[in-house]
Symmetry: C2
Subunit: 345 residues, 2 copies
């Protein structure tokens, strides 16, 4: 399945800034990085947005040859009911994009749209990899220039120890293949370091991880999450989702308060102006946009789900990472892992 | 049980900065606020620390009359196994302090010591309030000058819907009595706003809260936690513990990175120096020390557990809040709530 020059299907209609930022990101990836992109969605707005980024006067001719459009008449909105939208909107950009992957016309699908709908549609149309019990959504946490991935962040609110093990195994393969991390350090999220800590799920998962052959470094606590103390942190989808949203909320709170106190006096404002490059550097250090979308691991195809707020830069990175994943043979690696796990279990 | 001028038993030996900061905090509360404090622990170090804060030359005479010492020969260390330490160290400051409460010689107990040991000992020596299934530890989150409480933060890694309801009811009573919040807004922590979101626990708890008579405002997500979107946020002890530690880790990460970028160039340092008061103001806005220790709700006595890093200011606040709780009749209110719940359940 993995080809030298993969085609990435991109949901042109998904995300808070769709289609403008999505199409812009596709143009950047196609032009600057040479990624082959199939933009899926309503042709008219896609063409209109594309025109903004191509040399005036000769737009049709100047369209990069590696950028194509696959029509899809429907749009799944950000607040639509995921499963029902995935089932009924068969001509949506999400469903059409996933079908391109299913049929081998694309090698990966990237969307910044309705997360629940992409997950539901991916499971519905691509199915799970044989032997994988539950697909899992990965969040990328780029903090201080290091990448840690956290999963599950919402695909499975209730989990079993065996799911957690499979997620750890898949995420380790992803870190090795896509981010070239040798022997990724895998940890469980818990409320204490000792193996007897935590809820029943964590305690049972600990035993499975210990004898898994993974580079398992034990339990990490919430305070370790922003510290890149592991390459892969595994938890259930309820806790994981609450954690990434708490981190987001906390960053927003602190940056907002910082802005407020620094503009509260005239001479603060002057000093703060000098520091703008420093603040920008800090912001960059927490910037997910360089790393792109997180994978939905365990479905039988490469699917990447980005933040709803993704801008052109984030989309460009996502397309780069999706190509990297397709070239790396990650999916084949996951497929080969699965039966071994079933036998072992 | 509630008296006009309550006595607060204070664990002089518990916490990263014990006994120095603890004793200092007791002196401040006794002298500045007139709180009656019984310092529990090894008399020699307590007296030595006390001497540092009393006028030189006439220390014995100058000791505030409302400050007493109750000897306890043992110390439970911060990293000791909680249940075993609580059971075996019968002459520890924690066990002696709780027994003072049990016997009515003190009206509340405050400790910044080994959280697990205080919880275990409190349940062991004070028992649960009749009808309360599981005591719960409350974290105080003072963000932006508003107080939100989150529970459970570690007493119960696994929870049932009925526990969550009782915790919400107790925390609402605590906010009303101690912090004078009329009709506290109570929310469940979840991964989406709709009642059908989340794990099985949250979905079942939602139904109980809806028909509870509480001022239930529904589900909140992780990003809402730092926003004071509710007065009381309820979740299981696993998620709650991970959340407060993630918030702490995130604040440390951002403040650390901020320090780093701002000292990376000479002219940044100059500008940053001007901003020091602004940064201090920001730090104050996230400062738990003004609010003191969080209550362990559901044990049959008033118990407050502070951050291990508590300094004199935090201890002073904790003693003030513990006195407020004792005077408010909160414990009687919790005792009266309990049987009603049992009948209703």
């Amino acid at each position: 399945m993995s080809r030298e020059d993969p085609i990435i299907a991109l949901d042109a209609m998904g995300g808070d800034n769709a289609p403008a930022e999505i199409v812009h990101g596709a143009v950047l990836a196609a032009r600057d990085l040479g990624v082959r992109v199939a933009l899926v969605g309503r042709p008219e707005p896609i063409i209109a947005e594309m025109a903004k980024h191509l040399p005036a006067g000769r737009q049709a001719a100047a369209k990069p040859a590696n950028l194509s459009i696959v029509p899809a008449s429907e749009v799944i909105e950000m607040d639509e009911h995921p499963a029902s939208a995935a089932r009924h909107k068969k001509d949506s950009s999400i469903v059409i994009g996933l079908k391109l992957v299913k049929q081998g016309q694309a090698d990966a699908f990237v969307s910044a749209g309705n997360t629940g709908a992409v997950m539901a549609a991916a499971i519905m149309y691509l199915n799970r990899i044989r032997g994988i019990e539950r697909p899992s959504l990965v969040a990328l946490m780029p903090l201080g220039g290091k990448l840690t991935v956290l999963l599950d962040v919402g695909a499975n609110a209730d989990a079993k120890p065996q799911y957690l093990l499979q997620w750890g195994q898949m995420a380790a393969a992803y870190m090795e293949r896509v981010w070239k991390v040798a022997r990724p350090r895998v940890a469980l999220l818990n409320i204490g370091e000792e193996e007897t800590k935590g809820n029943q799920l964590s305690q049972e998962a600990y035993k499975l991880f210990e004898s898994s052959g993974l580079h398992f470094i034990g339990n990490l606590e919430g305070k370790d999450v922003p510290r890149a103390a592991a390459d892969v942190i595994v938890t259930d989808g309820f806790t994981g989702n609450v954690v990434i949203k708490t981190m987001e909320g906390m960053a927003e709170f602190i940056m907002g308060e910082l802005r407020e106190v620094m503009t509260s006096r005239f001479y603060y404002k002057l000093a703060a102006a000098t520091l703008i490059p420093a603040f920008n550097k800090l912001r960059q250090k927490m910037d997910y946009r360089e790393y792109g979308a997180g994978p939905l691991l365990g479905v039988d195809g490469l699917v990447f789900i980005g933040h709803g707020r993704s801008d052109a830069q984030a989309i460009k990175s996502s397309l780069r990472v999706a190509r990297e994943a397709a070239q790396s043979g990650m999916l084949d690696a996951l497929r080969e892992m699965a039966p071994a796990r079933v036998r072992a279990g």
